[in-house]
């Protein structure tokens, strides 16, 4: 089971790295998906290995997937709106929205 945790950790910090360094809003969003996904794996793994008779981790993962779908949809809607306004989705240009 530790190995599952190790790969989810790697995935998580890959997401963190992307979140910190990417310049594109969509890339940042993708990084967030990675982070969420790694957490989902953790829930499922803990549930399966430590408490196989219960289902909390399972359902938590299920709902987290639903939530991330929502979040992505809204985020993409916002990004497209931004794009429509300033023709760009680079983070450093976002302050042009103030104009």
């Amino acid at each position: 089971m530790e190995y599952y945790l190790v790969i989810s950790t790697i995935m998580f910090f890959a997401g963190v790295y992307g979140f910190i360094t990417r310049r594109n809003l969509l890339a940042v969003l993708i990084s967030i998906e990675l982070i969420l996904n790694s957490v989902d794996i953790n829930f499922a793994v803990f549930n399966r290995y430590l408490f196989p008779d219960q289902l909390e981790g399972f359902f938590f993962t299920l709902f987290a997937i639903g939530l991330s779908a929502c979040e992505t949809a809204i985020a993409i809607a916002i990004i497209i709106n931004i794009y429509r306004n300033i023709r760009d989705i680079q983070i450093k240009n976002l302050n042009r929205l103030k104009d």
Binding site: V16, F19, I20, T21, V28, I91, N95
Partner: protein
Amino acid sequence: MELTPIILLLPLLSFLLTGLAGTKLKPAAAGGIGTLSLALSALLAYLTAGRYFSTPRVEGVYEKIVPFNFEWLRFTENLHIDLGVLLDPISVMMLVVITTVSLMVHIYSLGYMKGEKGFQRYYAFLSLFTFSMLGLVVATNIFQMYIFWELVGVSSYLLIGFYYTKPEAVAAAKKAFIVTRFADLGFLTGILLLSYHTHTFDFGILTSGDSGVFAGAAGTTFLGCSVISWALSLIFVGGAGKSALFPLHIWLPDAMEGPTPVSALIHAATMVVAGVFLVARLFPVYHAEAPEVLTGIAVVGAVTSLYAAIVACVQTDIKRVLAFSTISQIGFMMVGLGVSGMGGHDGLGYMASLFHLFTHAMFKALLFLGAGAIIHAVHSNEMARMGGLYKYMPVTHLTFLVACLAISGIPPFSGFFSKDEILAATFQFNPVLGTILSFTAALTAFYMFRLYYRIFWNRPAHYDHAPHEAPGSMSFPLIFLAAITLVAGFIPFGQFVSSDGVAYTIHLDWKIAGGSVAIAGAAIGLATLLYRKENPTAGKLAAAFPLLYRAACKRFYIDEIYLFVTKKLIFNGISRPVAWFDRHIIDGALNGAASLTEKLSLAIRGLQSGHVQQYALLTLGGTLLIVLGILLV
């Protein structure tokens, strides 16, 4: 009796109405409201007095009545501040005096202030002043008195500074306020000391003659005097400030910058006697607990009256002459209280002092209003610009003469009776003091008639347009007050007011009375000689004693001493270093803190960039640090 709160509330209402409505009210309406409410108040006050003095005495004494009392602030079991109305002979008398004088001033002002800018404001302040003064005299406890005392202070400040565009008026108002504030500090300290040791503010308990009240203070001494003596002395300092006793008198002459009716109301008739009233109110306490303070009061009063009388002889501004004569007369009253004993013939001073308060209020108001009429006619305060006015203003002339005779102590005018009683009481106490007062009385007669002759006789000044008699609204109060002055001496005052409340019949001591009349007559004669016609003798006399004359002109440099002490000593010695400390150390520290904060915030501003990614990085870094810290420790 139950109506007494209304006497107070009417002026308050009128103040609120005229003050709040402001210029929305027509001037005539504001004046009408003020005058009408005061007239009602006066009427009620007369009714109250009539009812009060017609109720039968209990054990020979008029009962103290508290028709209205309301507990306002409770500190401890015994110590609480009330607001209420206390009726006893002196407060009833004061009610009558204040409402009468105030009513006269209100009526008079209708004519005098006509067309002035801020007429409504003027009436609002007058009402406020009257209200405060009435509240002061009916106070049931010393703290209520203090509250109204301060109200009187503030309303007098407003009235003196009425012509707020004139720098002298503003300075005078400030001076009056600050000097009396200094004195009030003493008053407050005295109240606190007294109440701390007696556990009560209530006049009824304090003056009940029960020495058990003061048992708590027994044995507590400071610098060789008992603590009660100190408290009473401090309270007297407060009274001295309001009553303009030497050396706290400096505000009163300057306060003449206010409108003349205001001078009449504040400086002559009501506010300055607040100190006298205060001492009279606490007289049983003074007498029983601190007779040495009473002696001090008498000495201060005598010094004040002599000093003010000398200064008054050389002033050329008619209002200043009257101001100094007021100070002098207040000194008389204080002496009267100071030399008084308790009960019977010993209590003559007390009775005489309050009698003098009563008569003085009337004739001094008359003098001021007369002076106002004169100023109204010739548009100047300076004697040099007057003279020969008797032809032009017969009513003012006659009423002024009545007042001058009264203040000089010529029978049958009211001043004779009251002043004579004070002299008699003083001689009985101490012949030296009595002689000083007699001399002062002579001076009084002299300067009053100097004033009278310089205004109405002497060499007629050149007038741009012939002076005219004052309008009816102004001459009516003059006549009314003159009438009171004529008859007031015959009021059997001792029947109503005396130190222990038991009726006392006034006996004229003809030895003293005759002497004083003779002295006054001589002084008047001298004044007639010098000032009846234009006469170089007066100038020569002044030249013969240049030092004395100059010193008197400069009011014996008291103001200069004050200026020296405040400007040179206090400002240079204390305020400058304090200001330096404030500017450099305290401000410096604050500025340093501010600039440090500014620099720090500039330095950390980069952290608040609004870049989410940077935040995430920092959050992660912080979390890692914490985790590492937990792991390693």
